[in-house]
């Protein structure tokens, strides 16, 4: 088996997606990333709320601070109660649509290692025709780990134990697409790790801060602290965003297209992004022939919401990997978008080393 440090791009993503780390429990991802980044000319800091921040000094020619962020957490579950028959009541950590829960395998980070279970609804045969057409209400779903009683379940876990979807990272569609849990936002983390490693000793004029943040899925509190510590001038949020480029979905409702390169946001539910930076990024993509696309719908939200209002305001952009079925056991993204994102970011970083360019982007 390869060491974590030897994993790049899709292999790195695969390794990171296999880690179970819902919001508030990101430590295993943080440890993995720390291993991956070992030996680079960076200073790593872990702050009080679990963010991992890599600082890479610039040449000194500019005091501009560029902040790149990707969140380490994923959506998941928390045990909120144990029924007398040993089945678990649970809440979602982060926004999970009720319709993608029933029939999924899950695993909990239990007292004695991982405890497997399944999300159960009363059998479809014994439901009325009306009930069969509806997703089972969350309050009627239970997680079955095989336990027979409260005490039996408590042998493995307790109220407050957290878990995630249990799914296998899979490449499919002639190898073009990737499917798995936690692609949101381990894909941003993987790109960021690759970026730092590809930069090697290359000199950049500005101060670069790469933040691997916590708790994005429950309201972006990690990014708030990380940005407050760094006080950046410019921020780029590396994300995955929900798209619906499905047969039958027309125009802008698709949000973005898999394989069309990173989606650059003009606005979403948390942020109105810098027009200058938006134009700058799409301009660099065009100039260098790298696929990129404007995100065509003001939907979703991400760490930018907390970052861009920090300090006296931060010029902020978001670049997202278009992802189908986000926040489910089967998030689907395109392999080529990973490489487009990484290449575009390299060009952005190099482009920003040009002082004129930098001041242009900052406006």
């Amino acid at each position: 088996m390869k060491k974590r440090q030897e994993l790049f791009d899709i292999e790195l993503l695969h390794m990171l997606c296999d880690i179970d780390a819902p919001s508030g429990a990101e430590a295993p991802v943080r440890e993995a990333i720390t291993e991956v980044l070992a030996g680079l000319p960076i200073t790593l800091t872990t702050d009080a709320v679990g963010n991992l921040i890599a600082h890479r000094s610039g040449s000194g020619r500019s005091d501009c601070r560029l902040f790149l962020s990707a969140h380490m957490d994923e959506v998941g579950f928390m045990v909120t109660g144990i029924d007398e028959d040993g089945r678990l009541r649970f809440d979602n950590i982060g926004g999970i649509d009720t319709s993608v829960l029933s029939g999924r395998a899950v695993r909990f980070i239990g007292k004695r290692g991982l405890a497997g279970g399944v999300i159960s609804a009363p059998p479809v045969h014994l439901r009325s025709p009306e009930e069969r057409k509806k997703p089972t209400r969350q309050s009627d779903l239970r997680i079955d780990i095989g336990a027979l009683s409260v005490e039996d379940a408590e042998d493995l876990l307790s109220v407050g134990t957290i878990g995630t979807f249990c799914s296998e990272f899979t490449e499919f569609g002639d190898g073009r697409l990737l499917c798995g849990k936690a692609i949101d936002d381990r894909i941003g983390c993987a790109v960021l790790c690759d970026l730092l490693r590809l930069l090697g000793d290359e000199s950049l004029d500005f101060e670069l801060y790469c933040a691997f943040t916590t708790r994005e899925e429950i309201g972006c509190s990690g990014a708030f602290s990380a940005a407050a510590r760094v006080a950046p001038d410019i921020a780029l949020v590396l994300e995955s965003t929900a798209v619906a480029d499905l047969a039958d979905v027309p125009g802008a409702s698709r949000v973005g297209t898999l394989g069309g390169g990173p989606a650059v946001s003009f606005a979403d539910r948390g942020t109105i992004y810098s027009k200058k930076l938006f134009d700058f990024i799409l301009g660099i993509a065009e100039k260098n022939g790298i696929p990129a696309q404007p995100k065509r719908f003001a939907s979703g939200g991400n760490d930018a919401a907390c970052i861009h209002t920090g300090g006296c305001g931060v010029t902020t952009a978001a670049l997202s990997i278009p992802t189908r079925y986000l926040h489910s056991a089967s998030c689907v993204a395109a392999r080529e978008d990973y490489f487009s994102m990484r290449e575009l970011l390299m060009h952005i970083l190099r482009g920003m080393s040009d002082p004129e360019c930098l001041s242009e982007a900052k406006k």
Binding site: V100, L148, D245, Y325, A329
Partner: protein
Amino acid sequence: MLDLKKQILSLCDYMSVSGREISGDNDVFLYGRFDRTECDHMGNRFFYRFCGCEHAPLLLVDAHFDEVGLLVSEILEDGFLRVLPVGSPDMRALPAAPLTVWGREPLFAVAASTPPHLRGKNAGDLLPEFGELLIDTGLSTDRARALIRVGDRVSFRKRSGEMKNNKFYACGLDNKATAAIALFAAASVPKDALPFDVCVLLSAGEEIGGRGACAGAAGLSPVAAIVLDSGFAAAPDISSTRCIRMGEGPGISYSAALDRYLTRRIIDIAEKNRLPLQVIAENPVTGTNADSIQFNRGVPAALLSLPLSNMHTPVEVVSLEDAYAMTSLLTALLQDPAILGGETK
């Protein structure tokens, strides 16, 4: 010692969405322990043990081998498919489920889920209808058309996992679990202990109306039939009296459609051997192959059920202890000459 769980899971790996039960070779795990094996045009598989006496009566042990799934009804642009149900897969378990499209080669796919921004105000309360549900193969339009044809079957992705108390989940345990039990029990009876010939029928097409068992039983002319199927595991939120409790052994059904003598005899043998058995009433019919075999073909039949939860989802759950209990009971029944007595004899 054969590992029953391993055998169950190895049967689960067979793609057997109704109508396409024979997906590979016929070399299932205990093949070598039977005196004869056959297939027919319905997709049924027959496994015989002979007692060695000429003109010996035949006992049929039926367990259906097909599973619910989907079939491709339309191949759209960009590798998306439309599908129709085969049997009654649980629609609620489909959005974002990993699937396998059984085209020219097995292809990984995902059942699409609709993102919240595309839902109307109340549309989020409803699951997609079959005409609306999309399957995402990730293939280009051309590749999808080259690899997939209308009518190809789609199943839930074959996966399994461990749970507490010897329970486990897998896709297709309804009814691969009892199919494995039937083969396991029939293979383990010593030849000289067989009072009659036995045919294990792994029947096709149960999920679409019991047609395999009907034709299979007709061709065999057995004296009696024991049908093994999956039964609903009890849970506090299910009020049905048809449920059986997981971990407390198999269930046996009294039903107006089934043979009371055979049912009674099975209960007696379970008691005599101190094997757990849960008695339930399913009236007037059971909705299983037992109905088709007794009702349509006039063969006295009884029904044994293995408790199973999350039926027709990719995470069907059974208890290995129940599976062993059912195996022990069936092994005892296959050595009981009186089982062939019959109501009218």
